[in-house]
Symmetry: C2
Subunit: 244 residues, 2 copies
DNA sequence: TCGGTATATCTCGTATACAATGGGGATATA
DNA sequence: TATATCCCCATTGTATACGAGATATACCGA
């Protein structure tokens, strides 16, 4: 199935020893691997993440895996249930609304700073990302497109120079990706194909106000494209269903 | 030197089990304890937090302490340096600016929603908090005042109904408390005494716009009261000092 | 008296072992 | 055949043991 051999040492079954190399780097890499898999929908909401399996796949002991899982839980990408272990978070409809409202506020609010501070290099990078995203969309590589879309928004936020807010936007984008996985229609995903390119144009022209307004519409459009119907497999609420 | 004064239950090696039903509860309580101590300035920026000492104080093993420390690190209240252990974070001047800019954006942006959704019960609670804060300030109980001030802002954000943004504000307030500890003047701390009460009045009258503007000035005032001079004990920058 | 080196100790990082709990499957019964 | 019950096992939670890195100290030499 998934022969994407993302984990760096795939063929090494028992490189037990923590190895000389920096252990922290390794953990960082593992975190990225799992995080990427979730964001790119290769791991779907609800998927269980067993500690044993992960420790075997990545060749580190459960202790390290637990640490990474804790971190992912704080980033709200995975959910830790007391005796049941970890699973990919399945966002609720309320959470979805909160996330998009937050993005609306922060990403639009950042636009004026971004317009003021953006450099030519940034514009080149962003145009490249937008271009590659379009190509990915056209060739049907959903995973790549989703990743690039999130990266685009995150990169943009970083241009503002406010690290705290940029980190926040990054996490909101990750969660958005999860939301798309649950509530998105298979047909067209998130960002319209040339929205990002239009946005860059506004920024290149120094029109911060226009860019902010455009970003607002852009996010609203994504949110509107979702079919947010709370699937209540959890609590079928028989009263509501059978009461007259 | 430190003769290991046997962990709290010396005779009970195995039945250690917290017994309070849920061990997670215990961890939550410990997290709160440490978090509170930091926010209330009973633990000052730079203070070292040794795992052994904490595990002895709270009667849990280092494993549990590590988990809590990791979480505090992700909340940016403590800093984990690879082989040196944990210490209370000492925010930089840049971080301070970012945090206050973020608060400016989010807390003001939330005001219209807050004004729309606030209930009479909320107003009573908030008035009580503001009142107690004033009393604490007057009687010189800095720790209590700081805590109440952060709680006030956090509670307000929760009223908005957006949990994601409220959580973010909570973390910003915690970090602000840290910033106050480093850059605040001993004389008057953060919030002016009746600012909070005035703010509630605007909200009670349904004047969301005014409340937002007032919150903006309020935050700017706090920020302005700081003496943000990067103490460069870390890197004295000898070039600047000794270059002609 | 000052500086450099070696040792000692302290603290964290990682792995492993053991205990407890909850769920799933098998079985028995209506 | 369907449902309820019980037991075993899979999986996590916690503690502990061992190893490595870094810092502080002490000793020796100049």
């Amino acid at each position: 199935m998934n022969q994407r051999v993302k984990p760096s040492p795939p063929a090494s079954p028992a490189p037990r020893q923590g190895k000389n190399g920096d252990g922290a780097e390794r953990h960082e890499a593992i975190h990225r691997s799992i995080s990427d898999a979730i964001i790119e929908h290769r791991l779907k909401p609800g998927a269980r993440l067993r500690e044993d399996a992960l420790s075997e796949v990545f060749g580190v002991s459960r202790t390290g895996i637990r640490k990474i899982l804790q971190r992912l839980a704080l980033e709200q990408l995975v959910t830790l249930t007391p005796r049941r272990g970890a699973s990919v978070t399945r966002p609720t409809a309320d959470e979805a609304k909160d996330v998009f409202d937050a993005r609306q506020m922060v990403e639009c609010g950042l636009m004026s700073d971004i317009a003021r501070r953006i450099t030519q290099d940034d514009i080149v990078t962003l145009k490249d990302m937008a271009q590659r995203e379009r190509e990915a969309l056209r060739s049907g590589e959903q995973s790549v497109a989703i990743r690039l879309s999130a990266d685009f928004h995150t990169y943009l936020a970083r241009v503002s120079g406010n690290r705290t807010l940029a980190d926040f936007v990054e996490r909101l984008c990750s969660r958005s990706s999860l939301i798309l996985a649950v509530y998105g229609n298979a047909g067209h995903l998130g960002c319209e194909s040339h929205d990002h390119q239009d946005l860059i144009q506004y920024l290149e022209d120094g029109k911060g106000e226009r860019a902010a307004a455009f970003m607002g519409r852009h996010l609203k459009a994504i949110e509107a494209s979702l079919s947010i119907v709370e699937e209540e497999d959890e609590a079928p609420n028989l009263f509501d269903i059978f009461a007259p």
